[in-house]
């Protein structure tokens, strides 16, 4: 076992956990135990990977010992390892939370194996260095998310799932078509090799068509304007633990792919592609936040805010300066933690009142002070109030925008930030501040739950809220990591050299003696 083997662990560990879960599906306690242990192991391996990448630089694993660009390459650079680490953290929080919030019938139907399958897809997508392999991981993730979304088979879950499945399948079909065209044009699917070949590609028209196809495919997954409609129609329907992990991770896989594609592959025509991205970023921010303001249910409001915040991440990518990209990375780190936490808190609220509608709930500030505190911290962080993590993320992005002299997007970002504050205040006022309605249906209050059950619900939210505060307090180290990530992203040669140490290929494949003997 060497350092390279660590690259495979975030994919192999969820698979191993899933195998064990499938073989013990009948026993609910075993499911819960294995699920949490597997998630913990994944978190540890992700941390190890991040530490190794920070120490040694880009780690590359050639699966099956086939040299790039012929085999499937797994690449862990700074961005990948940060994303995997966040995925591990989120799945750990959510699987602890699910112990108290997902009912036994869903557990015995396969909730935990599906979460692990989802995670395998997510980590695979973050780590792969091959476009078709990325497609496969997307599909693994999608199939798991389809089943998780419909698990339980409630009326509105099924309705939401039809919209989610349809739009995601369309985007997969576009992605596949794009892969076909890019293979026809360049004869390779390895990202490093593609980056080399697209640099000197003679036909600019083809490259533009390709970049747009990938923009549509990844943009649908990332839920950017005008391709986001599936998200608010489905994210509020499944069990809370499921929508929290969706909110934290799935759209971010789309954002990650956009970042990969538009920092590594399509960087020849910045004037066209990145200006378009900037426009999309602005429109995504504004439509998302306006949609959120019109909603009156906790999870629906939060769903629209996901869309709005995807705009910020795309903004940094579109500006394409080291500072702005660092802002994007910082924003992703902040967003995944905060957004998952807000969904988890929204879940606790919904469990208490059996509804998320703001006009039916209230009085939580008095009856649940701990919950109110963690919500307040997360919501203010989302809106970008100092000294929480969201403030530094937005500050970096806005500084990046000012530096690049793109004032329109800076104004949009600031206005959207204000509107986010408004909409977070709305939840705060309605759910926490105003007195509870006298006829409000209250569920079993957590006080009457077992001590362990309460710890499982509150533990993850407190953990994530303290991470938000922690990022705010220690903004320096996180900023340094984001800056290093951005510089690595902009240095395409480092990535290419790590994957293709022997320089560009495309001539006669060297047949190693080992393989001919087979």
């Amino acid at each position: 076992m060497n350092a390279q083997a660590v690259v495979i662990l975030p994919i192999a560990l969820p698979l191993a956990t899933m195998v064990m879960l499938l073989l013990s599906l009948k026993s609910v306690p075993a499911q819960k135990l294995i699920g949490v242990v597997g998630s913990t192991l994944l978190l540890l391996s992700a941390a190890t990977l991040a530490w190794l990448v920070d120490r040694d630089g880009i780690l590359v694993l050639q699966a099956g010992n086939w040299p790039a660009p012929f085999g499937i390459t797994l690449v862990a650079d700074r961005l990948s390892s940060i994303m995997v680490l966040l995925a591990g953290l989120m799945v750990f929080a959510v699987s602890v939370y699910s112990l108290a919030s997902v009912n036994d019938s869903r557990v015995s139907f396969g909730f935990h194996p599906l979460i692990q399958l989802l995670l395998m897809g997510v980590c695979g997508a973050f780590l792969t260095g091959d476009l078709f392999n990325l497609y496969v991981w997307f599909e693994v993730m999608l199939i798991a998310s389809f089943v998780l979304l419909t698990l339980g088979g409630e009326r509105r879950q099924l309705e939401g799932a039809i919209k989610y499945v349809t739009l995601n399948l369309i985007s997969s079909a576009v992605f596949l078509a794009a892969i076909g065209v890019i293979y026809a044009a360049t004869g390779t699917l390895n990202m490093a090799d593609l980056a080399l070949k697209l640099r000197s590609f003679p036909d600019e028209g083809t490259v533009s068509v390709l970049s747009m196809l990938f923009l549509i495919a990844f943009g649908t997954k990332a839920a950017v304007f005008p391709l986001f409609f599936w998200l608010p129609a489905s994210y509020h329907t499944p069990p809370v633990a499921v929508s929290a992990i969706f909110a934290g991770l799935l759209t971010k896989v789309g954002v990650y792919s956009l970042i990969r594609a538009f920092t590594l592959l399509f960087v020849t025509d910045l004037e066209f592609t990145h200006n378009l991205l900037l426009l999309i970023a602005g429109l995504t921010m504004v439509t998302g936040v306006l949609g959120a303001m019109a909603q009156n249910e906790v999870r629906r409001i939060l769903s629209f805010h996901i869309v709005s915040q995807i705009g910020y991440m795309v903004m940094g990518l579109a500006l394409f300066t080291p500072l702005a990209l660092a802002g994007t990375v910082f924003y992703i780190i902040h967003h995944i933690v905060v957004k998952t936490n807000l969904f988890l808190i929204g879940g606790v609220v919904e469990q208490r009142f059996r509804t998320g509608r703001l006009d039916r709930i209230g009085g939580l500030y008095r009856s649940a002070p701990v919950l109110a505190t963690v919500f307040f911290l997360s919501a203010m962080s989302l809106a970008g109030i100092p000294p929480l993590s969201g403030f530094f993320a937005k500050l970096t992005l806005i500084r990046g925008g000012l530096e690049a002299e793109r004032y329109a997007i800076v104004v949009a970002a600031l206005v959207v930030s204000l509107l986010t504050l408004f909409s977070m205040t709305k939840i705060w006022n309605e759910a926490f501040w105003k007195p509870a309605r006298e006829d409000a249906v209250t569920n079993v209050s957590p006080r009457r739950r077992s001590r362990i059950g309460r710890a499982c619900l509150y533990g993850p939210t407190i953990l994530l809220a303290s991470i938000t505060v922690g990022i705010g307090v220690m903004a320096g180290p996180v900023m340094n990591a984001s800056m290093a990530t951005a510089e690595q992203l902009l240095d395409q040669n480092a990535y290419i050299n790590a994957v293709l140490p022997d320089g560009p290929t495309g001539q006669v494949p060297a047949v190693s003696s080992e393989r001919t003997s087979q």
């Binding site: 009326r155 309705e159 039809i162 919209k163 293979y183």
Partner: protein, 115 residues
């Protein structure tokens, strides 16, 4: 041959999109199926067509002197077919359940989660 296949791909896309625009949920599923077939065929055509050759390099000599079919698009399509098989099977169960639960196959009536 390329042109013929290109027209077929276009026809499949058109038919798939037409089906998806209908209100019936079964037709939506058929449309999705056609769309993934179109993408597979596009991948196949774009990968280069070679007639009557297997994608196997003959033993003598590492570098193929004879023309062989490119194995990569074939492998990609096979993978994509497997994936779309699983996804469409899932979607079939999903629309069946939806029909049972909601008692309608009209997409216009699925508005409860719209905003």
């Amino acid at each position: 041959m390329d042109i013929l296949l290109a027209i077929t791909v276009g026809g499949l896309y058109a038919a798939g999109i037409y089906m998806m625009l209908r209100r019936n949920v079964v037709k939506l599923l058929i449309g999705l199926g056609l769309l993934s077939h179109a993408a597979n065929l596009l991948l196949f055509t774009a990968g280069g067509l070679v007639r009557g050759r297997v994608p196997v390099v003959p033993d003598e000599g590492a570098w193929p002197l004879v023309i062989v079919a490119d194995p990569l698009p074939q492998a990609l399509i096979l993978t994509a077919i497997v994936i779309s098989f699983a996804v469409l099977a899932f979607a079939l169960v999903l629309i069946y359940r939806t029909y049972q639960t909601l008692g309608t196959e009209d997409l216009d009536e699925l508005k409860a989660t719209d905003t």
